[in-house]
Each structure stands twice: as C-alpha cells, then as structure tokens.
Amino acid sequence: MSHTNDTHAAQDGGAIAEIKKVTIILSVLTIVELILGFWMIGMESKALVLGVKGTIVILMMAKAFYIVAYFMHLKHEVKNLIMTIVVPLSLFFWFIVAFLADGNSFRNLRNTYNPYYKEQSTIKVVQPAHGEAHGGGEHEAGKGAGAAAHTDSAAHHTDSTKKQEAKNEETKH
C-alpha cells in the first residue's frame, strides 16, 4: 500500500484490505471444512473420523476468532474491554469438558449396569421412510411404505419410546 499524504484514504484502504483478507480466510476455512465433511462420508476408520472431527473443531474455532476479532472489531478495542468479555467466556472450557465427560460417563454406566438399555441399542431396525422414499423417487408411495416401516420398528422400541409414539399419535389426531 502506497503511503499517500491523505492519511484518511490510507486508513480507508487498510480497512477494506483487512475486510477482503478476512473474507477470503473465512471462505477458505469453510471450504476446507466442507471438503473434510465430504471426505468423512463412509469413512471406515474410527480413529481417522475422530481426527477429522478434531480438525473441523479447530477450524471452527479459527473461524470464530476471525469473526470476533476482525468483523466484530474486538481486536482493535481497548485491552480492558477485551478482557471483560473473553475472561468470562473462558468458563466454556470447564462447561464443555465437565458436561461431555459426564455424558460419556453416563453412557458407560448404562452400558455396564443396564443390560436392557445395551440390548435395545444393538437391535437393528428397518430404515423407515427416508431411504425408501428417496431411493424410489415416488414421494407418496415412499411415504406410505415409510409409515408402515415406522410402526414395524416401533415394535422394537423400548417401552418409553412406545409411550412417546403413542403420545405423538394422539397429538397428530
């Protein structure tokens, strides 16, 4: 950028250049995320899936940083203001770790001590509506078959889901 005498115009150009730069960065990050998302479809290796998901989360954080720092202009604010916003948000580190660990622990406990839950979550069911309707291409026919498959699969559901389904039927009518 040439240093013109008109400082206002120079600042102007700098701001526009920054907006352009951040736009390009955000687009590239999104495209990379989408490529990773496509790559993950049908991926067999569990470890690789986990790695790709971790990468996507890191890219997500990078996008968040660029939006907050440049589009929301936080990077150019006074440091005290930045701290009053960013420090409380760091509570999220604890929230995420604690709750996800708790969820994971609940799953392990159920799988260990609740054989009924474990058995229910291994019974395979017929794919209702969706796959059929889309494979067939006939919306109405697919829907009918789907509804039938749906009631079939309900037989395999746990009692609580059965009750849920019954409730749904009620609300539908």
Binding site: T23, I56, R107
Partner: protein, 228 residues
C-alpha cells in the same frame, strides 16, 4: 490515598476520570455484554446437545438426514450441499454488514444504504433456506417428538436428535429474524437521515455486532449438526 498516587501514571490516567476507560460508547459496551450472555445461552443449548449425544450409544448420520436440495429431484443424495449454500449466504451478509459499518465511519450514507440492503437480502435468503429445510424435514416426518431417521449403526433412534435440531436451529433462526428486523429499522433510520442529524453512525455498529454474532453462532450450529 498514597497508594493511588504511587500507581503507574498510565493507570492513573486511564481510570482517573474524565476519560472513557474502554473508549467505546455505553451502548456498544452493553451490546457486547448482551452478546456475551447470549453466547452462554447458545452454549448451554449446544453443550446439552453434546452431553446427550455423548450419553447415547447410537445417533443418526447427518449425511443421510440432510441430503436434499430445493428444486432437485426427490431421490437426490447431496449431503452438505444445501447447508454450505446457507453458510455462504450468512458469511456474505456478514461481509456486507462490515462494509456498511465501514461506510458509516466515513459518513457515507449511500454506502450504508446499499450495504444494509444487501445484508437484509442475505438475512431473508438465509431464513428462506431454513424455512425450506424445516418444511422438507417436516414432510419427511421429523418434528419435535418424532424422528423418522434411524441411527447410523442401524438401530432405532430416539427423538433427541430432532428435538435438539429444531430447538437450536429454531432459536438461531429467531435470532436471524430479529437481526433482519433490526437491520430494516437501521435502514429506515438511515434513509430518514437520523444518523446524519446525530453526526455519527454508531447505531449501525451496534446492529452490526448483533448481526456478526448471529453469523458466529451459525458457525457453531453448522459444525455441530451437519459436520460432526
């Protein structure tokens, strides 16, 4: 009193009064604190979604659920395509919002009006996409309390998936909707020369902060529901 006089001179200058220590106006600071609290609301939603997902053995595969596209034949298998269109619409509308704020700094009324119109169009386009997607999923049998999609491992799913999806994208969609309303009000105020009379376009900046926050939340919602 002696402690205050021994404090470093820059500190005394910053907090000594007669000067804004954050050097932004009151309204903007409050907008930041509102957005911080809103971030906790969205965070609570997304973390509860993550917790339930971590505590369940099976979960539907998003690539099999979100794979349709408007005006495409019914049998199309296009995972991630529609949602990437939505994501880019929101990013572009965020960029036009930055340009509107920038034009406001230069007291360029024409630039503000043009970029606000583009931002509003982007917001409405995003809402239309979401309306289409909700309608499509509804016709496939998905709604609060019912989930027609089985888990990725072929087992029966619960309605947790649809409950979280509709609640969180709905809450985000409501934010987009109110953002569009705010932007329309800002556009009207610009057109009626209210900001010209005030001598500054600070209100555009505050609306801009809200709009970028909506884009920011979508980055997280998009990742959590469609990619992970």
């Amino acid at each position: 009193m002696s402690t205050t006089t021994t404090a470093s001179p820059t500190e005394a200058k910053l907090w000594g009064g007669g000067k804004s220590p954050f050097s932004v106006e009151y309204g903007k600071v409050m907008m930041w604190y509102f957005l911080m609290s809103d971030a906790f609301t969205f965070g609570a939603f997304l973390i509860s979604y993550g917790t339930v997902r971590f505590s369940t053995n099976g979960w539907p595969d998003p690539n099999l659920v979100f794979r349709s596209f408007p005006f495409a034949p019914e049998g199309i298998n296009a995972p991630l395509v529609f949602v990437s269109v939505m994501t880019f619409i929101l990013i572009v509308s965020s960029v036009t919002m930055v340009l509107a704020v920038h034009a406001g700094h230069n007291m360029d009324k024409k630039g503000v009006v043009r970029n606000m119109i583009w931002t509003i169009i982007g917001g409405i386009a995003f809402l239309s996409c979401q309306a289409w997607e909700w309608n499509h999923l509804f016709h496939e049998g998905a709604w609060w309390g019912r989930n027609p999609f089985i888990n990725a491992d072929g087992t029966a799913s619960s309605s947790n998936f649809t409950n979280f999806f509709f609640t969180i994208t709905g809450f985000h969609g409501f934010h987009v909707f109110s953002g569009v309303l705010i932007n329309i009000i800002m556009l009207i105020m610009t057109l009626t020369n209210q900001f010209e009379k005030r001598g500054h376009y600070n209100m555009i900046e505050k609306a801009g902060l809200y709009w970028h926050f909506v884009d920011l939340v979508w980055v997280f919602v998009f990742t959590c529901f469609y990619l992970l």
